[in-house]
Amino acid sequence: MGKFVVIGERIHCISPAIREAMNTMNPEPILKRAKEQLEAGATYLDVNIGPAESNGVELMTWAVQTIQGAFDNVPLALDTANMAAIEAGIGVYNRSKGKPIVNSADAGDRIGYLDLAANNDAICIALCSKAGVPADNDERMTYLQELLERGLELGMDPEDIWFDPLFLVIKGMQDKQMDVLNFIRDISEQGLNSTGGLSNNSNGMPKHIRPIMDSAMVAMAMMAGLTSAIVNPCDLRLMETVKSCDIIKNNFLYADSYLEV
């Protein structure tokens, strides 16, 4: 098994600084966040430009070239509801450090994102949901099968579909947490990859609690077979946990300075 893939989530138009930078095409705030995340140990960077209905193509092209140009073709996850923007981003994307990730398809309205990924030899994040949160793991598995079959029909390598179990918020859905973890095990037992917005579990908790809860969740999820997560890599406790779990899982060779690598 390879190392757990940390996808840095901090280039997101929901942040006022990033939204402003995207509106004015000002590279500085975006590159600053890219740098922080890479130094903290992110492998991929998610680039969320929002719906970007009017200028998505131009914006994603610019963002991909700006970030990859500044950081040795760092691999990116392209995240927007504008499919033409994703396609344009992949058009200028340099694959030397890894395939682009399309973020994301689901088994409902967004199933076409799988076709988009297949047509462009990209990895696709596939949410095991259709409309809203699946009621149980049987429902999740139905969606997974739909997405997997479609991906295979399109000629995708199954390893290029990263299934998202949908992490749920503990404050409100505490009784569903073990379902999510059990579903990760189901994905893993089929030899498939998985990822997701892991820190959703701690949404609404006090700021000092979130790194603790996220670290516990990532350790339990990695035990269950999670192969990636979309997280804030600048969370030191979380990254230390990921690196330590990678050692215990024999994903990465131990050295006394493993936390500094």
Binding site: G98, N251, F252, L253, A255, D256, S257, E260
Partner: protein, 313 residues
């Protein structure tokens, strides 16, 4: 279903490291497939073969060596002869005379020898110490200074002396450096991390993962090299992508098969032939495991291994 050939080509690769003076460099490593897997992708560089010359002279009880070095009166002359032997890619000078428990030769004398050797050969030079940690530190600091511009390869620094040697050999001297770990994969990685944190570029580092003669605990070495290559390529571990250099000669010539005289063990036949066989078998096994360079003593072994490497390319 038709068979689809899927070559196992990795997006990671072993670092390519060149050493030797300008125009005469030799390059180690560089491939992005498992060792010798030329059917998956062309190998970037062949395994390189070094010939070891000791500053204490050759083993005169080995007739072939005595004949080969006949007429040489200095270490530099021996090195020049060795460098010209068939199949030699580089010369490895071992400064055994510096050992404080034996001749305890001075640092200045050893540095003078190293310089004379560098000037006498037209091949890249690797410097091996005397295996005494404190003395090697002093030796390498001085020799790195004397050999400035020669782009030599120093074998090796250890956990105890990596700071002094890393700073003098690479940062000040511009040479390349081996990190030595005695068949300890975690230490091998840790040394590379420590050297990197010191500011030594990863492209200036090779790994001496330890040695063992075939049949003498060799499986520990083989499995260590296997795991290092696996982590380097499959897990893209940048702290294990350094080329592996394995000095085989001392171990191969140090086991009973290569030591016992024919008079003591007549049924085993010629001692020299046995020594060469041990050296060839050990080196071939190291290469199969993943060594990017081997260092051997006997010119006959060097020639054989060099032909073997060419045949496998």
């Amino acid at each position: 279903m038709p068979f689809t050939d899927k070559p196992q080509v990795f997006s990671a690769s072993i670092n390519a490291l060149s050493f030797g003076p300008a125009g005469k460099e030799v390059t180690l490593g560089g491939s992005n497939v498992y060792p010798l897997y030329s059917f998956d992708a062309p190998l970037a560089n062949p395994v390189r073969v070094g010939i070891q010359v000791s500053d204490k002279g050759f083993d005169a009880t080995v007739p072939g060596l005595a004949a080969f070095y006949e007429g040489c009166s200095t270490v530099a002359e021996m090195a020049a002869r060795a460098a010209a032997a068939p199949g030699v890619d580089f010369v490895a000078l071992s400064l055994n005379s510096a050992d404080p428990n034996e001749d305890n030769a001075s640092v200045d004398d050893c540095a003078a020898t190293a310089l004379a050797v560098a000037q006498a050969i037209d091949k890249p030079l690797a410097i091996m110490g005397c295996k005494n940690v404190e003395k090697d530190s002093e030796l390498f600091v001085k020799i790195a200074d004397v050999l400035r511009g020669q782009n030599a390869l120093f074998l090796s620094c250890r956990e105890e002396d990596y700071k002094t040697i890393g700073a003098s050999v690479v940062l000040a001297g511009g040479s390349s450096l081996g990190g030595e770990s005695a068949v300890d994969i975690n230490l091998a990685k840790q040394l590379n991390v420590l050297l990197s944190q010191l500011g030594v570029p990863t492209g200036k580092i090779v790994m001496n993962l330890g040695t063992a003669a075939a049949g003498y605990g060799f499986e520990y070495l083989a499995s260590t090299i296997d795991r290092v290559k696996d982590a380097a390529l499959k897990q893209n571990d940048g702290m294990l992508q350094m080329p592996v250099v394995t000095p085989c000669g001392d171990d191969a010539w140090g086991v009973k098969e290569a030591i016992l005289e024919e008079a003591d063990m007549p049924e085993w036949g010629s001692r020299e032939e046995r020594g060469i066989q041990m050296e060839i078998i050990t080196a071939a096994a190291c290469i199969a495991s993943g060594s990017d360079a081997v260092i051997l003593r006997h010119p006959e072994s060097v020639k054989t291994i060099s032909e073997y490497v060419s045949a496998l390319m």
